[in-house]
């Protein structure tokens, strides 16, 4: 392995899958989390939410994906969450509590290729194609496995309004970003989400704020936007 380094030759995993010397960096470091189904022994959510692994390269993403249980084989009440490093996949997290989510629910579980849909949502997240560079909204993506449905979601930092400590600039939650632009950024993310899920125009995906959900005591809060 000294010869390959000596002349500074770039060897990708496509040249030699065993002995490569460069890898593809992701724009962000990500953490994969798993929610264990409750055993009925009165665990709280914090006991059930488990950090699986952190990663920051394309190669490592596939090492994880190729060696983990697919969504279609998870037990009911399981979730996978893929979130940016330092953000817990809970609405109470300081970086999530002013935000919201786009979500779509598949009620006919037998009729949906949930593994491919979840893979493509993850690829859009780690490949940074769910939003434009300056949007700054994406926090993570999630899949919920329930008795009667699968649900996929994309979590955003804001609900299109400015939030504390984000300054005066035209950034997500900043005072320099008008509510109209904030809404347009979120709707653009919603349209990409819908496209990745390959949903027909007759279907709608819904955006709701996390605190709306929390206060109504259900995740079926009145949606703020739809596309």
């Amino acid at each position: 392995s000294t010869s390959k380094d000596a002349d500074g030759k770039v060897i990708t995993v496509f040249h030699d899958k065993e002995n490569f010397n460069v890898k593809h960096q992701l724009q962000n470091k990500w953490t994969l989390w798993f929610t264990k189904p409750p055993s009925g022994k009165g665990e709280n959510w914090n006991d059930l939410l488990k950090r699986v692994i952190d990663f920051d390269s394309v190669e490592e993403f596939w090492g994880i994906y190729n060696n983990i249980v697919p969504v279609s084989e998870l037990a009911q009440k399981s979730d996978y969450h893929l979130f940016k490093d330092g953000v817990r996949p809970e609405w109470e997290d300081p970086q999530n509590k002013h935000g919201g989510k786009w979500a779509y629910q598949y009620k006919n579980k037998g009729n949906v290729d949930i593994d491919t849909l979840w893979l493509h949502i993850m690829l859009a997240a780690v490949g940074e194609t769910l939003e434009d560079e300056e949007d700054g909204e994406i926090m993570g993506v999630v899949v919920n496995v329930r008795k009667g449905f699968y649900r996929i979601g994309v979590w955003t930092r804001t609900i299109g309004k400015h939030i504390p400590n984000r300054g005066d600039g035209d950034v997500s939650g900043g005072k320099g970003r008008s509510p109209a632009k904030g809404q347009e950024v979120l709707e653009s993310i919603g349209r990409r989400f819908k496209e990745i899920l390959k949903l027909p125009p007759t279907e709608t995906v819904e955006f709701s704020g996390h605190t709306d959900s929390a206060h109504s005591g259900s995740s079926r809060a009145k949606s703020k936007f739809t596309v």
Partner: protein
């Protein structure tokens, strides 16, 4: 003769060693198809990574580009990953963590 060597922890595979020791491509390199010359990905369709070609200031990758890695890096990301996953999530035999 019988070996009396103590049992060693599993050694990382060559692919896992490469993953741990390789350096990151720069944004410029990552958007340059010529780095794949002589590889299985010798002629990547530039359209498969339109996102990175368009910007060049951040690491963006289109799904079609990323999918080319799917059957190329298949090694577990750490020597304990599969056993960790089995304990936490269960395995494909219906032996879920919830059933314990």
């Amino acid at each position: 003769s019988i070996s009396t060597k103590p049992v060693e922890p599993p050694q990382p595979s060559a692919a896992l060693q490469s993953l741990k020791t390789s350096r990151f491509l720069t944004i410029k390199e990552a958007s340059d198809p010529s780095i794949y010359a002589g590889s299985a990905l010798a002629s990547p369709n530039p359209a498969t990574n339109a996102a990175v070609n368009k910007k060049g200031q951040s690491f963006k990758y289109d799904a079609a580009f990323l999918l080319q890695f799917q059957n190329v890096f298949t090694e577990q990301p750490s020597t304990e990953f599969q056993s960790q996953v089995k304990n936490l999530i269960g395995d494909a035999d219906g032996n879920r963590s919830a059933s314990r």
